[in-house]
Every structure is written in C-alpha cells, then in structure tokens.
Symmetry: C2
Subunit: 483 residues, 2 copies
C-alpha cells in the first residue's frame, strides 16, 4: 500500500524558466520582506550577533520559491503527527523500556549515560508528572525510488524554527500573489502554517494548568544563539496572545540562580517557573561542566512542567527510534491497528550494529546506508565510503562502542532546482528537501488537552551536501506548494 | 496669547529613577521588538548595508521611553498642519513671489539657482499642474523661556521617517503596557501615529487621480540609502493596502532610462510613472553631474504627479520661510485671520542678512542666533561663536554672498533626561527634542481631496549636539507622551 507520487507533480516553476531580471526583482522583494517582517538571524560574521539582539542582523537563508510537494504525502505526514505525539507519551511512561533499550548505548555514549542517570533518579523518586507537554517535530524525506514518505527522525527536544517557518510560508504566499502575472501559481496551495501560535498556545495552556498566575515560562537557551529571533517570535506570541511572561536563562545561569522550594517549586532569579522550554540541552556541547548537569537535574526534580521531561527527551533518541521500528514493538505502546500501520509505513530501515547481516551488507554497499550517532543537532552523520571505514574500525576495536551508532537506510530524495537566498545573494542550485511536521501535545493526568499537527518546516539544501541543518549553514528555510 | 506649558508637565519617568536591572530588561525587550517589527536601518559600519536590503541590519536608534510633551502644544501643532499644507499650495502658485524672494539667493547659491532655472522653464511652458500632492513635515521646538511652540523648518521634500516613526510609537506603547507595574503610566497617552498609512493613502489617491492602472509610483532614491527600510514600509503599505506597485530609481538611472512620450507621460525603464515621490534630490550632493539635473527637468516636464513639484520644493526653502515671517506676507496667501494668527504664533524670529540691526545684534550676542544656509539635509547650520565669525567674514567680503544665509532666533528647548539606544547599547543622556508633524495634501484642479495632519516624528538628541539629524547620527527616534 504505497502512496504514489503523482506523475503530474511539477515544481511550480523551474528556476531555469525565470529570466534573470525577474529573479533579481523577486530576490530584492524577498530580502525587503524578510527585513520588515522579522525573518532574521544573527550574522555569523559578527561576534555580538549571538548575544545582543538588534545588532548585526541578516535575513534568514530562504528559498525564493516554495518547493512542490505531493498533497497526498502532505496529508499523510499531517495525519500521523497526533499518533507520534501519543506514541512519545506512551513510550516515555515505560521507564523499563527506555532503560533497557539504551543499556548498551549508555556504556559507550557518556551523554546518553548522563541522561539515563537523571532518568533513573526520577524513577527512584517516583513522582508522577501530571502535566506533560510535547512540542515535537517529525522530519521526513520523500524517497524517489519507492515514492514513500520516510521518517528521518523525531525531535522531542528543541524542535527549532516554529517562529521563522511560519514567516517563510507568508513570504512565499506574498511573492506568488505579487508576481501572479509572471509566475502562474495559486498562493493558496501553500498550506497555512501557524506553528508559532500553536506552540505558544500549547505552552500557555501548560502554564495555565500549572496554575500560578505570577509564574513565568523559562526558555533554556544557549549563551550564544544566532537563531534567537525564531525563539523571540514565540515569546512575542506568548506575551501578546496569552499575556504570559518568558525569561531566558542558560543552563549555567539556572545552576547559579535556581533553587527548589520545599513544595518542589522551581525559582530562578527570584521568579517562580511554571514551564521550562528547552532550546538548549540537547547536545553534549551544551554541558560545559558539572554545573549544567546540576541544572538539568534540578529542573527535572522540580514540579515545573518540562518541555521536554527527561523521559520525553530519551523517547526521541535515535536508538529508541530504531527499537520502535523492530517488529511487534509499536504494539507494546499502541492499540489501534490502523494507527500502527500508519506509523510503520513511514519507518525507514533501521538497525542496530549487532545485526551482523546488515553490517556486512553496509560494508559491501555503504552508499545505501547512513550511520547515525546518538548525538543530536546535525552534522554528525556518516555517509558513503566513510560508513565502510567506520564499521570496519568498530569491528577491529570490538569494544562494544558500536552501540553508540545505529544504521539507517539511506533515503534518496528527488533532486530539484531551487533559487537559494543567502547573505543577500541568490544562487541557483540542485537541491533536496526535508519536510518537518510540528506536533503539540498536552496532557494533565488522564485528560489529553491538546494533540494536534501544528504547522510545518520545509528545509531545502544543496544536493551535494549530506547534512541538513539550517543553522549549520548547509540548508535554507522553505515552504511547500501542494501539487 | 501664549499657550503656557503646564507646570505639572513631568517626564513619564526620570531615567534616574529606573534601576539598572529594569533598564537592562527594557533595553533588551526594545531591541527584540525593533528586530521583529522592522524598526531597522542599515549598519553604518557596513558598506553593503546602504545598497542591498536584508544584510548588515541594526535596530534604528531609539529612545527607550517616550518623551513627555504638553497636550496643548501637541494640539496646537496638529491644528496648524492643514493650514501649512494650504499655505505651501498657495505660495507654490505664486511664481513671481518665489522668483523675487529668491532672486538674491540665486546669485550666491548655485543649488537654488538650478532649482529656480527649472522653475522658470516651467513658468515659460505654463502647463497647469492639475494634481498637486504634498507630503510635508513641519518641525518644532518648545522654547523653554517663552513656553512657545516655534517652527524650526517646514520640509516639503523628502520628509523622512513616516515609516519608522509609527513603529517607535508602537514600540513605546508596547513597552509601557508590558512594564505597567514598573513604570506608572498610561500607554494611551502616546498619540496614535499612522504616518506611513496616511502617506501611502495620499500617494495612492494621487495615483488614482492620475488614472492609469498600469502606471507605477516611482521613488527617487539615493544610490546608497541606509534608511531604506523607512521607505520600504511605505512601499509595503502601498502594495498591501492599495495594490499599487512602486519602483526605486536614482536620478542618474532616471536620466539613463527615462523618456517623455508625446503626451507628456513619463516612462522609466519601460514603465509609465503616475507619481514621482522624491526621497533624494533635496541636497546639492544628490546632483553629481548634469545627468541628475537633466533627470529633474525631465520629471518636472512630465505629466506625472510630482511629490513635490519644483514650486512646492522652493516653497519649503528657508529663504521663503523667512519671507513668510515678514509682516503682511502671510496675508498675501491666506484670507482667514484666525489661520494667519495661528501660523504666526509658531514663527520664530527670522531675518535676512540685509537687516543690519539684527546682524549687528547677532555679532554682539551670537549665542541667541542660528545662521542657516539654504541647503537642506541637516548638518550645515552655524551656531555660537561661529555665527559671529561667519557674519564678520561675510561683511569683509561684501560680495553679496550673505544672501545664501538667513538668521534665525535660537530656540532653547527644555533639557530632559533620556535613555538612548544605539547599536545595542543604552546611554543615559541630557537631551533636547524636536517634534515633527506630518501633513498630507492632495488637490485635483479646484477640489481638495486630502488636507490633514498625518502622524508625527519626535527626535531626541544629546543636548550638547547642535544638529538634529537622525541619519547623521546625532539623534534618535522618539515618540511623545502627552502630559
């Protein structure tokens, strides 16, 4: 039962069909739009741009024209979002499954090991988290060969770009509207994207469930953050639509300024915290010293709503993704057979390195696999010949450090032509794209208050680049045009 | 009949009463607000920022807290705006008055001379301009000694900041709202500021009167413009609210790409132009060669609506301001005695340099005068001891070049305390402020379609700086808080 990519699916316009003068006009208008509407990032060429707002700003890297995407696959991706939300919540409640599945990984990956240590402590303390908030993003690529929508990963912590992605959809709709005589298209075929307000709504509702009108929402941030405007849009929505105050603190600041009151209330810098929203803490590099780990544990032990809690965080790890792809594992967490079938349909091939047949095949045909470490944040995957070398090296060492990796079927998405805007300059490029679907989930005790798809993020990157991170400089923000 | 400044008038909060931590929070929130809402300028430290949108942007320099301003003077300034609009239109129709008043200036100021040359040609050709569009800004200071609102100058060309000034009012209202528990104030005491949409409405109505739905509005711009976002906001309003397309051209480009059709239609780069909006061409430095003067003449001869026409431009010159301040001159243009009295009440002392008693007094007491050249754009006025030196030098030369200047009563505004934000840093400063009131005027034949006050611009500068230009780097954008 594969959903076929319609053969009629064509990009809304081939960049080669746009004459240079029109590209220049479009590019200029796009740059102006980004500037006036806050589609911005800190300039990487500046030292201050990651710490001081309002200085050394540059438009976010964006595609000039939205990327065509089959409507059937769009619907499929939207449909599974609430099921993945549900799955994460169920998996997170199964402490034994998390600990067992990650037991080999913990031995070789110090980062996972520290997370599991906190998780164990929480199991010991055995306080029930009544309010559970998930702001996830499930990332997909469309495999050109099988015409299947395949999941790359499920982010349960620090899902980025809810703020800027909405703006890109608006930018593209505005350009198509303005140039409707030059580019035959229908701006309404760009799906509405309200990620920032849906994220804000979920955070505000969690804040409301917590029930202290004087308490704030705390954003846990990196000390240097060039993507700060994406986060500021979320704060702006919380303030303007929900009258909720946000504060921004680094893990080190939380360690220095945070304390738990007797009833478990987290107070940071004199302010009670209702909801902790992590935009840092997902990568080993965020933990410079014991101080940051102390802060993480402090927060986890508090009665503040954690987005995510340590168990939600672990449920999104690559090893768990791989475990869930094994036969009969989804059935442990979900009852509905249809739901299970829908999720399984998006699973790419995923294997641990103790599956010797697969490892052998990957050494023979490394181009068909990606080797993924547990670490998050992009930029760490292994591709091509390097897969063979890495596997052979691990076999020789034989220390069990193969547990730090999983193998994944390599997906070959369609190659398109795009015009990418970066630092004020347009480039025509051969590109591939990755679609992220945001999901919001909120539960208080047994009552599910929110469980929905919540906007999307399209990222388009030069096809010769293996890695997908926008912040890492290889990709641009995009939107989709349904065909 | 002087309107007294209420003695109860106090700044909404003395910056010395705000503790450092609150200043830091306010400053940070102000910087974020500017970034997300497009209150931006090109960074002066960058070469590209004046030519490429979307790169090297920095928040516009702004005051952190709005400046207190007496409500009675605010009302007075608003009330005279339509009368000044009317006056400019009447003066502009009196070609003889303009030519005669500027006859001595023309001999010594080459710039005025070139403008008058074009004006003479237009008088010869004697085509009647049916559609007349004025987008003016009348600038005032409150004289501390006399408690009078006195006009500094009336700008009839390139009145800047209609776009950004609205945003500053919004920024301040947002901050007062957000920090209402820390700063006792009423955000609604910041008057509504809709300058950008009122300017756009006037431009769009003029475009509509012109009557060619395929024609565009052309912004005449400088090749390098770090204040481009102010202008882009106006274009955005025209496009989004009125579906009118704007193009941007330098004078040199207009000379190269522009032509007049037989019926007087101006076509630039293949596009018919309905309205010409000047954001360049007001200063000698905008005319690098004969090419720019040819462009100016070409536009003036066209049937496009000029904002401003050459006669509106001349009507705003300092020499004309000084002539209008002479006894019985206003009566030549206006009938209503009340209106005349209202205008006269805002006139500071203004004299030509052939009034020997005044020149003698200015040499004796130079601190009470400002010497102003005909040139526009800020940065050219003479103050203090330099007034004496300049006057003595002119007397010695005796070449008639004194006609290039006028003398104006020096106004001593109240000194306040402000927190100014520049390049991401806040500074507490002693400051003085200047209030600009925008006016929009549109007439087609005998029908006046628009004549109104249209928002405002408050500029606050360090009191030790004599010059007032925001773009020149001495001042910041501000808004007013009525007391």
């Amino acid at each position: 039962m594969q959903t076929q990519v319609e053969d009629s699916a064509k990009p809304i316009v081939d960049p080669h069909d746009i004459d240079a003068k029109l590209v220049q006009k479009l590019a200029n208008d796009a740059l102006v739009w980004c500037s006036l509407r806050g589609l911005l990032v800190g300039d990487r060429n500046s030292e201050r741009s990651g710490t001081v707002p309002g200085v050394d700003m540059v438009h976010a890297p964006v595609a000039l024209i939205p990327m065509s995407f089959p409507e059937s696959h769009w619907k499929q991706a939207c449909e599974v979002a609430p099921i993945f939300n549900e799955l994460v919540d169920r998996v997170s409640q199964d402490g034994e499954f998390l600990q067992q599945s990650l037991s080999r990984t913990r031995k070789v990956d110090p980062f996972t090991s520290r997370l599991l240590e906190i998780h164990s402590k929480m199991l010991e303390i055995n306080t029930i988290e009544e309010i559970r908030l998930g702001l996830h993003r499930s990332d997909y690529m469309l495999d050109e060969q099988t015409k299947l929508l395949l999941q790359i990963e499920l982010n349960t912590i620090s899902s980025s770009f809810p703020g800027l992605s909405c703006l890109v959809s608006e930018l593209h709709r505005s350009l198509l509207q303005q140039y409707r005589e030059d580019i035959a298209s229908d701006p309404n075929r760009i799906p509405a994207n309200n990620a920032v307000n849906q994220f804000a709504e979920a955070l505000a509702k969690a804040w409301n469930e917590y029930g202290d009108p004087r308490a704030v929402i705390m954003f846990v941030v990196q000390a240097e953050e060039r993507n700060m405007y994406d986060q500021h849009w979320l704060s702006a929505s919380l303030r303007e639509r929900h009258q909720v105050t946000t504060i921004r603190k680094t893990l080190a600041e939380i360690d220095a300024l945070g304390e738990l009151q007797q009833d478990g209330t987290l107070v940071v810098d004199g302010q009670a915290v209702a909801v902790i929203y992590f935009r840092a803490g997902y990568a080993p590099s965020d933990y410079h010293s014991e101080s940051e780990w102390k802060a993480r544990l402090l927060m986890e032990q508090s009665r503040a709503v954690k987005c995510p809690s340590i168990s939600y965080h672990l449920a999104g790890s690559k090893k768990i993704q791989q475990e869930l792809a094994k036969p009969n594992v989804l059935e442990r967490f979900l009852e509905n057979k249809d739901d299970i079938a829908k999720l399984r349909k998006c699973f790419a091939g995923l294997w641990s390195l103790d599956e010797s047949d697969i490892v052998k095949d990957a050494i023979d045909r490394p181009e068909l696999y990606v080797m993924k470490p547990q670490r998050e944040g992009g930029g760490n995957n292994i591709y091509g010949e390097d897969v063979r070398d890495a596997l052979l090296k691990l076999q020789k060492e034989g220390t069990g450090s193969d547990a730090a990796y999983i193998l994944m079927q390599r997906i070959f998405p369609k190659i398109s032509h795009s015009i990418l805007m970066r630092e004020g300059i347009s480039h025509k490029e051969q590109t591939i794209s990755e679609l992220g679907i945001y999901g919001t989930y909120l539960r208080n005790k047994t009552e599910v208050l929110i469980n929905q798809q919540a906007g999307y993020l399209m990222r388009t990157k030069v096809s010769s680049s293996n890695e997908g991170g926008v912040a890492a400089g290889f990709a641009v923000l995009d939107s989709i045009y349904l065909v």
